[in-house]
């Protein structure tokens, strides 16, 4: 029988971690060992993860493509599928279809300084690129991570942020919104664009990956511009409602661009020509 593109792989849940009050990360491995061994992906790609009976949802694969024992995704408890995903635990079975999308151009970024900027639930799609770069340390220059959330409790992968800050030529700038700090908070307080500006990151040889809600991106772009970054060197990962993930169901296009096929990773230059349709 011909391959059924809509049929997912069965995945065994290895571990579930609660990152914030409404965010969990899940590590899964292929129940079919051969499939697991043959599987590969590029950081920045996504998958359609499903709970059978509830449906599918789109999540970035937030583990490094160098890790062979599992893949990981992160989700916020928001709707029908994520509500049932919230109940999933070790040993359970979920579905996975992928990898889909274009991924980050990690090869093109070699030799450059990397500036990662993210807000809230945007850390997972940044995390995979950070780990990948750290695992190929010699190929990349200085790494700066500017990451913020509304409150301290909303920071995802907080422990890994600590780990990264101890690495060679890695600078981590954490921030929370004014009012979101705890008494012992040692990071920055402020909105990401302002924090980024204050951080005064050298950008002559940098590329930036900015992920977050549209309003955050809107106010971060002028800062990046002042830092000297050109539009073709600023990247983002878009979100849009998806179903098939492979460009057939007609749902995720933003103007002439299919987020699932032409994206989800775009440069700012490309984004300028994408109409307000996402």
């Amino acid at each position: 029988m011909k391959k059924n593109l809509y049929k997912p792989d069965l995945m065994e849940v290895l571990e579930v971690q609660q990152q914030t009050p409404d965010v969990k990360s899940v590590r899964v491995r292929f129940r079919d060992g051969d499939r697991g061994r043959d599987f590969s992906f590029r950081v920045g790609q996504f998958g359609q993860f499903s709970v059978f009976g509830s449906g599918e949802a789109t999540f970035n694969i937030c583990s490094s493509s160098n890790w062979k024992d599992y893949i990981e995704f992160c989700f916020r408890r928001t709707g029908r599928v994520t509500e049932t995903l919230w109940q999933v635990g070790k040993g359970d079975t979920i579905g996975f279809r992928g990898p889909y999308g274009n991924g980050y151009p990690m090869e093109a970024w070699e030799g450059r300084d990397l500036i990662f900027i993210g807000g809230g639930i945007a850390m997972p799609p940044i995390r995979c690129a950070v780990w990948y770069a750290l695992e190929n340390r010699a190929k990349y220059g200085d790494i700066t991570i500017v990451y913020g959330a509304r409150t301290v409790a909303d920071l995802t992968y907080a422990a890994e942020l600590d780990e990264w800050s101890k690495q060679e030529r890695v600078r981590v700038v954490r921030c929370v919104d004014p009012g979101g700090e705890t008494p012992d908070w040692k990071g920055e307080v402020g909105l990401i664009p302002a924090v980024l500006e204050r951080a005064a990151v050298p950008a002559q040889n940098a590329v930036a990956l900015v992920i977050g809600p549209p309003i955050m991106i809107k106010f971060t772009l002028p800062v990046l511009d002042r830092m000297g970054l050109k539009e073709e060197d600023i990247y983002t990962s878009l979100e849009n409602r998806m179903k098939c993930g492979v460009g057939k169901c007609g749902r995720c296009n933003a103007g002439p661009v299919y987020v699932c096929k032409d994206g989800p990773v775009f440069t700012m230059r490309q984004l300028r020509s994408i109409p307000n349709d996402f």
Partner: protein, 342 residues
């Protein structure tokens, strides 16, 4: 040499195919309308080159509801099982050329990088026999989008209405099994009566116009009457948007692929509550864009065969033709002000 077949002859052939266990699809009178349906009896088949079924033949390749696999929930274990594929051969007869021509257009998206094996399997086991068209209907505009009343695209064989009946000619190898490919058919069809609609579409300017007019008041002006149902999308031969949902109970169920329409209010609703197309004019714009800009850019094919179903089935008489006409009017106005250099 060819033989003139009467309706009775054709129905006789159909009876034979049904007897062989094939699924035969033809236009049928039902519910006060002409609709393509799988026949239970050959006598149901209607051969009328002057009428157009209110639906399209796409549902015999891309069904309105199709289980894509089943799942059983057994404690912590999940067992997936494949849906048994339909094995029977399928013959669509008396298809309008504008329905047949939609198939090669749809082939692009259903084979784009990943093959939709449900669609391709049905395509492979279906023979399409079109009936060349003699319609006189203002909603038609096939010649404006590169098709026409005798378009052979997507057809394996074609029937022509002649005096006393019909003559048939095979086009592809598949069709040659049913009708002689070397038959000399006295071809006759009234394409003079089909209005050539839009200068814009014919000259290919529609895509350029759309590109430059994403944010334009025309969307609101033209489409305020749209009520946001799916009648246009579902009766359209080329619309193919779909939804994937799980249906079942605690013991198990199926993941299914269902038709969906970009006109429904929640089509693009995010789980966060954000909806990029929260107003009807935005949704109407998407339909026009998908058909006349996005699909052509990706696949070099217009996602429309000018059949007019959208307009005929729209409860308020909208449809893409009216929007194209308005855009064409805009372009003519611009042309008159600044004549195009020859």
């Amino acid at each position: 040499m060819s033989t003139v077949l009467s309706v009775a002859d054709l129905r006789g052939r159909i009876a034979g195919w049904i007897g062989e266990g094939k699924v035969v699809v033809a236009p049928v009178e039902v519910g006060g309308r002409l609709l393509y349906q799988a026949l239970s009896a050959a006598s149901q088949a209607v051969f009328d080159a002057r009428r157009r079924p209110a639906n399209s033949i796409k549902e015999f390749f891309f069904p309105r509801h199709e289980p894509i696999f089943r799942y059983r929930l057994e404690g912590k274990e999940i067992v997936l099982s494949d849906v048994a594929p339909e094995e029977r051969e399928q013959i669509v007869i008396a298809a309008k050329p504008c329905d047949a021509a939609a198939l090669p257009i749809l082939d692009h998206v259903f084979n784009w990088d990943f093959e939709d094996s449900f669609y391709t399997a049905r395509r492979a086991r279906t023979t399409v026999i079109s009936l060349a068209c003699a319609m006189e209907d203002d909603a038609c505009f096939c010649t404006s989008v590169g098709s026409g009343p005798a378009d052979e695209a997507g057809s394996d064989a074609v029937l022509y209405e002649v005096e006393g009946g019909f003559e048939g000619r095979g086009i592809t190898e598949k069709g040659g099994g049913l009708f002689d490919r070397t038959a000399t058919v006295r071809e006759r069809c009234e394409d003079a009566t089909v209005r050539s609609l839009t200068v814009a579409v014919r000259k290919g300017e529609i895509a350029k116009y759309l590109e430059g007019n994403f944010e334009s008041p025309i969307w609101k002006d033209l489409t305020l009457a749209c009520l946001g149902c799916g009648a246009c999308a579902y009766t359209c031969p080329t619309c193919h948007c779909f939804d994937i949902v799980d249906e079942g109970n605690a013991a198990g169920g199926a993941r299914v692929k269902n038709w969906d329409s970009c006109q429904f209010p929640f089509f693009t609703l995010h789980a966060s509550g954000h909806n990029p197309r929260s107003a009807q004019p935005q949704r109407q714009r998407q339909r026009l864009f998908h058909k006349f800009l996005i699909y052509p850019q990706k696949f070099n094919a217009i996602l429309c065969t000018g059949c007019g179903n959208c307009e005929r089935n729209c409860p308020v008489g909208l449809g893409v033709r009216k929007v194209l006409e308005a855009i064409d009017g805009e372009l003519r106005r611009v042309d008159e002000k600044e004549p195009v250099q020859a």
